[in-house]
């Protein structure tokens, strides 16, 4: 297994962890909030709200803009 494969596998495991955590939260396992609840809670203040939206805008700029 090359370092390329290991790196890609790591990203896939993290992605699976994110999806799995959200699914577990939606099914009511443990006391884990869903992704939507986490984002709603963070965005209830202006700092959190603008910060998250700026991070989203940066994502677009990073992948598409000069």
């Amino acid at each position: 297994m090359s370092s390329h494969d290991i790196t890609v596998a790591g990203f896939l495991i993290i992605l699976a962890g994110l999806i799995g955590t959200d699914l577990a939260a939606r099914r009511g396992y443990a006391q884990i909030p869903t992704f939507s609840q986490v984002i709603t809670r963070i965005m209830r203040s202006r700092t959190g709200r603008v910060g998250i939206l700026v991070a989203w805008a940066w994502l677009g700029l990073h992948f598409f803009a000069k």
């Binding site: 390329h4 994110l18 006391q31 805008a57 598409f64 000069k66």
Partner: protein, 302 residues
């Protein structure tokens, strides 16, 4: 006749400058009336105004206020992104992000300072300082039966007061017609911007314009009333927090594994490197832009 009268719109209130209203309304005519229910909360005595002027922070205090705002996790995350953007060869993006993060830190620090200066009355936070959709209870959004844990370890989600939104948030889902119009516009936008070469000025203008517009909308507050979840259990914070930290560290390890931060590596690909093949084609960019817009719509609705 009654039906006709009932269907009429209520007469629009005339401004207080109208002499006819001014003479009739004792609250306007008589400056001695100071009931906030009548006159509104804007009345402040000269002593309070003077006190506020005296309390204007100096340069050193401004720096301290800004530094105190960096304790907000989202500000710290933005500054970290800014740092890695700069070392990845995009200094302008990083600088812009740092400016926004600093402004947010200042804003958060100032509000924390104002909150600290407010005399403790033991009362609940006034409704005016909450978003209109914010619930007072700890119930979780969309899951009222779920237990509401009380811990917030590490202060990941701090209790900063939220300002009143700039507009009246909706109560329900958007209408089907509006969703169709928005979806159609998003597809049109993605097709146009996706057709532009990556990293070109037209693509930059399209993405920066939409991003700035959404951030401005977000600055005004939520567009939809929602029940805000209470503080999360330690387990929940750890689950999401550890995934965020591990993901960030994995990306950082890949970035540091490159020959230089600007030069991508096949052996240690970052997320950007892995998405290059997808974003190399017009169709791929269109799909990715639709995903980006969808994520933005999800966030604006929070």
């Amino acid at each position: 006749m009654e039906r006709l009268g009932g269907a009429r719109r209520p007469r629009t209130a005339r401004p207080a400058t109208d002499p006819a209203i001014r003479d009739r309304d004792p609250a306007i005519r008589d400056p001695a009336i100071s009931d906030p229910a009548i006159r509104g909360p804007a009345i402040r005595g000269p002593a309070i105004r003077g006190q506020r002027l005296e309390e204007r922070p100096g340069f050193a205090e401004r720096i301290l206020i800004t530094l105190s705002g960096i304790r907000q996790p989202i500000v710290a995350i933005l500054l970290l992104i800014s740092f890695f953007t700069v070392i990845s060869g995009k200094p302008l993006d990083g600088l812009l992000l740092a400016v926004v993060a600093t402004a947010l830190a200042w804003d958060a620090g100032m509000r924390a300072r104002e909150l600290a200066m407010t005399p403790a009355t033991g009362e609940k936070r006034p409704a005016a300082t909450r978003y209109a959709g914010e619930a007072s209870g700890p119930a979780w959004a969309g899951n009222a039966d779920a237990p509401a844990p009380a811990a917030d370890p590490g202060g990941l989600l701090t209790d900063e007061p939220a300002p009143r939104p700039a507009w009246r948030p909706r109560t329900g889902r958007p209408r089907a017609r509006n969703i169709a119009i928005g979806g159609g516009t998003a597809v049109f936008y993605a097709l146009i911007v996706g057709s532009f070469t990556r990293y070109s000025w037209p693509a930059t203008a399209g993405v920066a314009g939409l991003g700035a517009g959404v951030v401005i909308v977000g600055w005004g507050g939520p567009t939809r009333k929602r029940q805000v979840p209470g503080k999360f259990a330690r387990r929940g914070v750890l689950a999401w927090g550890s995934l965020l930290v591990v993901g960030g560290l994995w990306e950082l390890a890949a970035l540091l594994g490159q020959p230089t931060p600007e030069q991508s590596s096949y052996a240690h690909p970052t997320i950007s490197t892995l998405t290059d093949p997808l974003l190399g084609s017009s169709l791929g960019r269109t799909v990715a832009l639709l995903g980006w817009i969808g994520l933005g719509a999800f966030l604006v609705e929070r």
